[in-house]
Amino acid sequence: MSSIDNTIRCFLFSYRLRYIVFHLKACCYAKTESGNVIVPGVNDP
């Protein structure tokens, strides 16, 4: 596998990881601020 492939794979993995972390954080936040419900404008991450 070329180093370019590896770079792309690495980039995609890190992007996906950040996406997952973002949503996990949003979820945890919502649980304390609006009774388990994500409300637009109230518990934006």
């Binding site: 601020e33 609006s34 009774g35 409300v39 637009p40 404008g41 934006d44």
Partner: protein, 298 residues
């Protein structure tokens, strides 16, 4: 306990408000806690129709029905439970608000709501339609005043411009100073009150192990918590210092503390009697971590 007029309204709210969201399912225990709060000077109680699917309004209504004239009840609207029971949808339309208020009044066992708040909001909402609902309800005497619970500057600006809101409920603490940039100055200029929630940043400023919060790393959170601890004394504990930081922000009318236990009630009440932070103490706290700003919905 001190009382402040909420924005342009005639509601004199206690500087500590009772956030009812975390109350449990035991009506008798909840009533005991709420009555104790009333007896100690708290007159502002905040709930919402979506907390526990309306059960929270029911327990608050039961506890306050015999004290109705001496308390200020705030609730919220804008989230609609799907008929198939699969979840909530955001619905800020007038027809929904006009129907939802009746259900809240019934659950709260009252014929008027002191402060009716839009529970969220997006810039794509039919804002004039939403405002028309609140204005109509006010004219009909169903609500005394209205406000919005939102942290989005672009949405807040529209309501300030187009409506007669008297309050904004928003998150504010040493670890969330985002409102200071543009929102607080705008609200002060327009005499709109701030009901601050999240004053101890989920406990991170007090007793929870440091963890990343908003844009802050765990290390920065630990630094902020250490600054709070350093500013605290034997007569002003960390929770009270964190709460006083919020109360001493001129834009803030009342700090709404989430209360579930007698100990939490005591903590909140003690903040009122705790010594005020000196200007140099406030400055030191502010310098502990770099101020943050809103990145989205500006």
């Amino acid at each position: 306990m001190q009382y402040h007029l909420l924005g342009k309204s005639n509601l004199a709210v206690s500087e500590i408000g009772f956030g009812c969201m975390s109350l449990g399912s035991d009506d008798a225990a909840n009533a005991g806690l709420i009555h104790q709060a009333c007896d100690r000077g708290i007159n502002f109680f905040d709930t919402a129709d979506l907390y526990e699917y309306g059960q929270n309004e029911i327990t608050v209504g039961k506890a306050l029905k015999d004290r109705r004239s001496s308390v200020i009840i705030a609730t919220k609207v804008g989230n609609q439970w799907r008929e198939d029971g699969s979840g909530w949808d955001w619905n800020p339309r007038k027809d929904y608000i006009m129907a939802a208020v009746e259900a809240s009044l019934q659950r709260l066992q009252t014929d008027y709501i002191d402060l009716y708040q839009l529970h969220g909001g997006t810039i794509d909402d039919p804002i004039d339609d939403t405002i028309d609902a609140f204005e109509t309800l006010q004219r009909h005497g169903k609500i005394r005043w209205y406000g919005i619970s939102s942290i989005r500057p672009n949405v807040i600006r529209e309501y300030v411009k187009r409506s007669h809101i008297v309050s904004i409920m928003m998150q504010y603490s040493l670890l969330d100073r985002r409102p200071e940039e543009t929102v607080f100055p705008l609200l002060q200029e327009n005499n709109i009150g701030v009901l601050a929630r999240g004053t101890v940043a989920k406990g991170l400023l007090v007793d929870k192990p440091a963890a990343a919060y908003l844009n802050y790393t765990a290390k920065e959170v630990a630094t902020a918590a250490a600054a709070v601890k350093e500013a605290s004394t034997s007569s002003r504990h960390a929770a009270q210092t964190a709460l006083r930081f919020v109360l001493q922000q001129p834009a803030v009318t009342s700090a709404v503390a989430g209360i579930r236990t007698p100990a939490q009630l005591e903590d909140a009440l003690n903040a009122v009697n705790a010594s005020a932070l000196l200007p140099e103490e406030i400055k030191k706290l502010q310098q502990a971590v770099a101020i943050n700003t809103y990145e989205q919905h500006r």
